[in-house]
Symmetry: D2
Amino acid sequence: MTTTGAGAMTPSGSGVQATTHGYHKQKDEHLKRLRRIEGQIRGLQRMVDEDTYCIDILTQVSASTKGLQSFALQLLEEHLRHCVATAAIESSTQGAVKGGAEIDAKVEEATQAIARLLRT
Amino acid sequence: MTTTGAGAMTPSGSGVQATTHGYHKQKDEHLKRLRRIEGQIRGLQRMVDEDTYCIDILTQVSASTKGLQSFALQLLEEHLRHCVATAAIESSTQGAVKGGAEIDAKVEEATQAIARLLRT
Amino acid sequence: MTTTGAGAMTPSGSGVQATTHGYHKQKDEHLKRLRRIEGQIRGLQRMVDEDTYCIDILTQVSASTKGLQSFALQLLEEHLRHCVATAAIESSTQGAVKGGAEIDAKVEEATQAIARLLRT
Amino acid sequence: MTTTGAGAMTPSGSGVQATTHGYHKQKDEHLKRLRRIEGQIRGLQRMVDEDTYCIDILTQVSASTKGLQSFALQLLEEHLRHCVATAAIESSTQGAVKGGAEIDAKVEEATQAIARLLRT
């Protein structure tokens, strides 16, 4: 991940390539993770259907929620890294004021997403 | 739901019937809810696949987590109601000491399940 | 705790005594726990005042929140145990229908409190 | 807040001044917020002491936890904004590779803090 972030900072075009490459690697991980969660949700349906003991169903719900949160945290980390990199490039090429406003907007948007995750 | 809880208290066999009937009605609701969540998880996979903007994916994750928590809360409510009814019958037929221990064990188990939900 | 719950079921007056005794023991624990959390909140004020590094402040916030949740869970466990005991006595002395309605109301109230804890 | 972020980007010394000014304004808000939470915790002690109904205590716990989370989110927003600004300055003055590594470390640290908040 460090390489991706560093590559994105490079002023040359190769930075974009590195980002895309890193992104695709993550994409497969994300999809694998989400398919596992989908399997857990189908497992929950089976448990309800077979009248499994409530407490055991609740344990499986906790596991699925934990899976979703890990996915959200990884996505958020990538977003912060990427948003940081892009906003930093903007601010150094477009001047401090415009770059600063861009960063502020991105940070506010990310904070609101974190707030939504916390409140669920 | 009140009828189910009250029915479960009846010492006659009809109490079991009332519980089963109420349970089946809930079961359909549970399965419908879980199928909706499964659809949301598949939606997340599509979003990742189509490179949807991170923040929008995080919003969908929050919605899915909220759905799972609502399902857990409904299940927990039914469990508390049912566990209360059963433990109450135990305590009135088997005497206070054994009934009390039964209730204690059930309450501890439920509290641990709530703790797991809180920590995710 | 088992003794308290069992004691509360006893139809004689000694049940009330046992409950009160158990309650007082818990009360001291609760107050001690809350004073520790109060100390943590004052610690947070000192950290902000001394310009402590943000991430270290956030770690302390997590510790305080965890403390509050443990307190809430212990309180909830006692409440479920007590509400179960009282509602069970009601249902055995006042008949199934009224006792069932009483249990339903208590369980709904408790579930709503758990929902509020989950959403924060 | 936008001014603070933008000010921090300025390569001249005035950026530091603007940051400090903005920080002090926030500091008072933080301390006021924390004193309010401290009052809520003392209120909880009074409630326990006066044998207030469990469910009402739990409602107050939810309010205090919500207060702590709002404080954490505001702190996090400032941190992301500040860390972004500082890491951006580093990366533009020290070169992409070192700046990228600096950003990566900061983002990872922030994500771990968010994970701790989510798990409580």
